[in-house]
C-alpha cells in the first residue's frame, strides 16, 4: 500500500470558502447597486464597472509583481471595487475612479499583505483620498432620473447638505441626490438583512452603529428617520463597519466598534465641517480595532486568572 494521506485531524471541512463569503456580500450589495444605476442611469453603471475592473486588475498585477499566490479568484477585489464605486457620485470622471481603486487595492490592501492583513477598509481609504484630492468632482451630484429630463442635470447638494423638500419615501427608494450606492436605503437594508440571515455578518455592529446615531439624534432633537436614511449610514453600517479584517472579532468588540462609529458620525454630521461623517468614523474605529480586540478577548470555559510567577 502506498500513498496514504497522513494529516492532522479533523479530516472534514465545511463546504464554505472565502470566495463563497465574498459572493454573498456581492449578492447583498446588488439591490442597492442596481437601484443606483436605475436612479442615475448608465453613467452610474460605468462608474461601478470601472471601479470593479480596475480593482481586480490592480489586485492581479500586485500579486504578480510581488510574486505571491494569485488571489483574484477570492472575489474580495470585486467587493472592494463595488463598494468604492457605490461610494462615488455618478458624475465622477472615470480616471479619478481608477485612482481611487489604486489607493484602495494597492496602497491600503496589498502593500499591507493582502486579504485579511489591511488595517483600514480599502474602499473607505480610497474614497477619503479622492474626497481630499478631487473635492469638487466628488461633490458634484446628478439629479435623480436626470436622463428623463432635458436640462438641469447637475444639482449642487446631497440631502444631508440641504434638506429642501426631500421626503422619507424618496430617501428609502433613492429618489434623491447622493452617491450611487447610498441613495436607496431600502436596497441596503434588504442586503444587510440578507447578510445577517446567512450569518455572513453579525447584527451587533449595524445595530449598535445605527442605534447610536438614532439615539443621539433623538436626544438632541434632530430628525431621526432623516438621519438614518440619508447619506452613507446604511451602506457604512451594514457593509463597511462589518468588514472582517478591519473590525473587532468578538461581539463585545463589535458593540464598542458600532457605538464608536455612531458617536463619531453624529458629531461630524452635526458639528463638523463635512456634511457626512460615516467614512471618517469607520476609518477612525478601524485604527482602534487592534486595541478593542485586545480588551475584548473571550473568557474561555473554566479559565482561571493567570497566576503571577514568583521571581
Amino acid at each position: 500500500m502506498k500513498g496514504l494521506i497522513v494529516e492532522p485531524s479533523p479530516h472534514r471541512a465545511a463546504p464554505i470558502t472565502t470566495q463563497k463569503v465574498m459572493l454573498q456580500v456581492i449578492i447583498a450589495l446588488l439591490p442597492a447597486a442596481i437601484a443606483g444605476c436605475v436612479v442615475f442611469g448608465v453613467k452610474a453603471a460605468l462608474v461601478l464597472v470601472t471601479c470593479i475592473a480596475s480593482s481586480v486588475i490592480f489586485e492581479a498585477l500586485c500579486r504578480k509583481i510581488m510574486k505571491r499566490e494569485q488571489t483574484v479568484s477570492d472575489l474580495s477585489a470585486v467587493v472592494t471595487g463595488l463598494l468604492l464605486g457605490m461610494n462615488l457620485t455618478s458624475e465622477i470622471p472615470l480616471w479619478m475612479a481608477v485612482i481611487g481603486s489604486f489607493v484602495a487595492i494597492v496602497i491600503t490592501k496589498q502593500l499591507f499583505g493582502g486579504i485579511g492583513q489591511n488595517f483600514a477598509n480599502p474602499a473607505i481609504v480610497g474614497r477619503i483620498v479622492m474626497m481630499f484630492s478631487f473635492t469638487s468632482a466628488m461633490s458634484t451630484w446628478a439629479k435623480p432620473y436626470w436622463y428623463k429630463e432635458s436640462a438641469d442635470v447637475i444639482t449642487g447638494a446631497t440631502p444631508l447638505a440641504s434638506s429642501d423638500g426631500v421626503e422619507y419615501m424618496d430617501l428609502l427608494m433613492g429618489r434623491c441626490g447622493g452617491c450611487i450606492g447610498e441613495v436607496c436605503a431600502l436596497g441596503l437594508m434588504i442586503g444587510g438583512l440578507y447578510l445577517i440571515i446567512t450569518k455572513i455578518i453579525s447584527p451587533v455592529t449595524p445595530l449598535a452603529f445605527i442605534g447610536t446615531v438614532a439615539v443621539m439624534t433623538a436626544v438632541t432633537g434632530g430628525d431621526v428617520v432623516y438621519q438614518l436614511l440619508s447619506g452613507g449610514l446604511m451602506i457604512g453600517a451594514f457593509f463597511m463597519a462589518t468588514d472582517y479584517a478591519t473590525t473587532p472579532l468578538t461581539s463585545k468588540g463589535k458593540l464598542i466598534f458600532g457605538i464608536g462609529c455612531g458617536l463619531i458620525t453624529f458629531v461630524i454630521r452635526n458639528y463638523g465641517n463635512y456634511p457626512e461623517g460615516v467614512s471618517f468614523s469607520i476609518l477612525l474605529m478601524n485604527l482602534l480595532t487592534p486595541y478593542i480586540d485586545r480588551l475584548t478577548r473571550t473568557k474561555p470555559l473554566g479559565a482561571k486568572p493567570a497566576v503571577k510567577e514568583a521571581k
Binding site: 500500500m1 500513498g3 496514504l4 494521506i5 497522513v6 494529516e7 492532522p8 485531524s9 479533523p10 479530516h11 472534514r12 471541512a13 465545511a14 464554505i16 470558502t17 472565502t18 463563497k20 463569503v21 488571489t71 477570492d74 474580495s76 493582502g114 486579504i115 485579511g116 492583513q117 472582517y244 479584517a245 472579532l249 468578538t250 480586540d293 478577548r297 473571550t298 473568557k299 474561555p300 470555559l301 473554566g302 479559565a303 482561571k304 493567570a306
Partner: protein
Amino acid sequence: MKTLRGIHVSHDKATQDCETAAFPLPEKVIIPMSQHMGAPCKALVKKGDTVTVGQKIGDTDAFMSAPIHSSVSGEVVSVEDFLNSNGSVCQAVHIKTDGAQTVCPDIKAPEISDKQSLIAAVRESGLSGLGGAGFPTHIKLNYDAVKTPIDTLVINAAECEPHITSDYRQLIEEPTAVIEGILMVQKYLGIPHCKLCIEANKPKAIELMKEKTASIESIDIVTLPQQYPQGAEKVIVYSATGRIIGEGELPSNQGVMVMNVSTAAFIKKYADTGMPLVSKRITLDGSAMTKNQGNYIVPIGTPIQNLLDYTAAENPQMVLYGGPMMGITLYDTMQPVLKNTNAILAFKEVKLPKTTDCIRCGTCIRTCPLNLMPVSIEAAYKAKDVDALKELKVMLCMNCGCCTYACPAHRNLAETNQLAKGLIPRPAPKK
C-alpha cells in the same frame, strides 16, 4: 438544556443497523506494548513462546499503565520495535495464530467485593477507556474519595463522531451489560447518581435504555442535542450536569466521573468471565469500503490490512483510527487494531481543501465549545508570543477540530493550537 457551542456535521451512521458479527481470525496479530496514555509495558514473552487467548504478554510496574494480553492462541514469531501513530516507538509482539483459540487456563472470574478489589480486577483486565483517549480505567476508579468526592457518574454514549456506530450497537445489543456495569461501579465506589448520555440522533437507543432503567432510580437517561462535539469530556459534563471543569482540573474536582458506555459494559463482562480486554467492537465504514461494512468484534492486534481486504476497500487514500473529526490517519495499513480503536474508516478520492489567507471572520471563535480564540492564537503562535498564548489559554484546547472544520479559509487552526501548546514551558514537576 444548556449546552456549549459546536458544529453540525452530517452523521453518516450508515452502519447503525448492522448487527455485530465476529471478525474472521487473522493469521497474524501485532500487539504493541503501548496502546493508551501512560507508560508502555514490557513484553513478558519472547520469540518462540506459545501463547493462549487472554494470557498476559506485557506489563509494567508503572502506576499510569495497564497490562496487555494476547488476543489469540499461537506462537510468538518476534518481539520488535514498532512506530506508533503518535510518533513514539515501543515494542510490539508479533504472534502467528494457530486457529485453535485455546483459552489461557488461568482465566477465571475475579472476586470483587469492595472498591479495592474492583480496582485491582480492572487493572488486571487491561482496561483503558474505550471511547478513544484510552485513559487507564483503574486509575480513574482509584480517585481520592475524601479530597474529591464524586456524586455523579456520567456515562458517555454520545458517539458524536460521524460514521461510528460501535457504542450504539453496544447499547442496542447488550443493554443489560451496560446497566449492570454502571451499577457495579456505582455500588463499589459509592457514587449515588448516574447520567447515561445519548445524542438525540439515536432515538432507538434512548427509548430502549429508558425502558430498561425505568425501575432503577439512580440512573437517568439524558438526551444530548445533536451537535458535535457532545462526546468531549468537558462538553458532556456541562450538558449533563451544568458543571464546568476548570483549567487544570479533572472531572473528579467537580464531583463527576466520565466513563464510556462500552467501558462500563466491559467491566461487567470481565467480572462475569475474567476474560481480559482482547477484542473490540469496531465499526468498518467509509467510501473506499465496497462490501461487508458494519460492526465487528475484532481481536486486538489484527492488522488493518485484514479489515480492508475483508471490506474489499478500493484505492483507499485515507485510512483512519476513529472518526473523521478527531481520528488519526494511518501511515501504513499493517498497523494493528488497538484497545481504544472504535472504528476503522477508509476513504477514497479524498480532496483536501486548499488553505488560503485568514480573513479574520471570527467563525472559529463562534464555533469553539470552550470559547477560545483560534484566530488570535494563530497570530500569537506565528509571532512566538508565549505570554499572549498563555493569556489566550491555548492549553485548554481539546483538539475537537470545530475551528478547522468551520474555517472558510480552511486553515489548520486545531493543529496550530497543538503546536502552540509546545511553546508554553511546562511547570517543573513537584519534588
